[in-house]
């Protein structure tokens, strides 16, 4: 009874998230990342619904003044299923799609080059800043900064690291923007792209099938079939 309402959603998650992840050989990473990202919200959703579901009657067990109910558990599992679907889909996308290819394809489909550049540069900046932060952490540690130990000590250690990371990045912005200008970045009009990401017929068909499936599931939900 408890799993009855989530049988089909679980099947869909299995078919559309876990199966493609396994085929792409990223299933272990997907499970790890998806669980890590969704764990805090999943735990809170489980506890809140299990113990505080309004109007629930079927008691599973009591824990002092609070009561775990079957209705709450059932609803919590539904919520967990949705969280799993969202985090799984986002993680699958992250693990199987190179940002540069995504942006290239967006530009090929008419997204302005500047917008595509900003999107791509934003994503690419994250690992660059992480690398810079590692260098600065090493440099600050070499100068006696202690970033290990108690939480307070760790928090105090953040300030001398974040400052140089941010200031260094800001200082580079002017030179980087001048470099872009000197490389014709402000040229109006569309660019002839060097290549397009592979997009086989079966991939296009599958995408359309997903769209049709989404519409079908939505209709089925509203007419009460799902």
């Amino acid at each position: 009874m408890i799993l009855g309402g989530v049988f089909w959603p679980l099947v869909i998650v299995g078919l559309l998230v876990l199966l493609p992840a396994a085929a792409s050989r990223v299933l272990p990473q997907l499970l790890r990342f998806a669980v890590l990202f969704s764990l805090p919200i999943a735990i809170s959703a489980l506890l809140v619904n299990l113990f505080f579901y309004p109007g629930a009657q079927t008691v599973i067990f009591r824990l002092g003044p609070i009561t775990a109910t079957a209705e709450g558990l059932s609803f919590a599992i539904e919520i967990l299923c949705r969280i799993a679907a969202i985090s799984g889909a986002v993680t699958l996308f992250y693990l199987t799609t190179k940002p540069s290819e995504l942006v290239l394809d967006l530009e090929r489909r008419g997204v302005p080059a500047r917008l595509a550049f900003v999107a791509n540069a934003s994503v690419q900046t994250v690992p660059a800043m992480a690398e810079r932060a590692q260098v600065i952490v090493a440099a600050q540690r070499a100068r006696g900064l202690n970033t290990e130990g108690s939480v307070w000590r760790r928090i105090r250690g953040i300030v001398p690291i974040v400052g140089p990371v941010m200031l260094g990045s800001i200082a580079e912005v002017e030179e980087r923007s001048m470099t872009l200008e000197s490389r014709g970045f402000t040229h109006p009009g569309r660019r002839d792209l060097l290549w397009s990401p592979p997009d086989a017929l079966w991939q296009r068909l599958l995408r359309w099938l997903l769209v049709v499936g989404l519409v079908g599931v939505t209709i089925a939900h509203f007419v009460g079939w799902l």
Binding site: A113, F117, S177, T179, S182, R183, G184, H187, R191, L194
Partner: protein, 263 residues
Amino acid sequence: MLKLSLVSYRYAGTNRLALRDINLELADGEVVGVVGANEAGKTTLCLVASGLAPRSIGGTLGGSVLIDGHATADLQMHELAALVGICFQNPYTQLSQVADTVFEEVAFGAMNLGLDRAEVIRRVNEALAAIGIAELGERDPRRLSGGQMQLVAVAGLLAMRPRHLVLDEPVAQLDPEGRALVADALRRLAAAGTGLLIAEHDTDLLVGLCSRVVVIDNGSIAEVGSADEVLVDPRLEKWGVEPPARVRLARAVAAAGMTAELP
């Protein structure tokens, strides 16, 4: 030809002139070195010569800067980019950060000019070959050494086929191997007819590369002449410029009362 006539420049928010009454010409295929102490005005001269100042960074420009007869003030940045390229000293900031391969990185500027794909590919292949880094084509540009990154930056400018290149301390952050790579590449560019304006502390880089050398002191041209004359001028150190190693060695030998024939 790149021609600066009575150029003065003041940065936004300051009253002090960073450049004063600069007259300088860079003919097609000519290589001119610019030396001077820190804060003398070398970088400012590069920014003005490339049209980035004041168009991109603000400030006030006096006099005229002409590139192939066109005043930089009358040109859009993308039009300027096709005429003159600029390379800064930090190789990391030269990268677009959005290319996964050196080939794509070098193609970035040429693609921006609106060229068709076949022409871009042709130019990139030629630029990589001219700089001598064709074997790096498939590498991730963010994983290269500083010297290799700088070569990629120069190749990227070259693929845009500017008539002139302005280089602001192109080897300042490089190790000896990186310096040698960039120096070789610049020699090849000069031999191919690209006009080069090179602001550089390392006078050894300028020996044998530049036909003329300009000394900048406190925003003004203190001396200009052939490289053979300027780089042995005894006043160089007074202007905050270290003479080339062979000149220092010759002086040390002479000071020790010995004589030596240097190559």
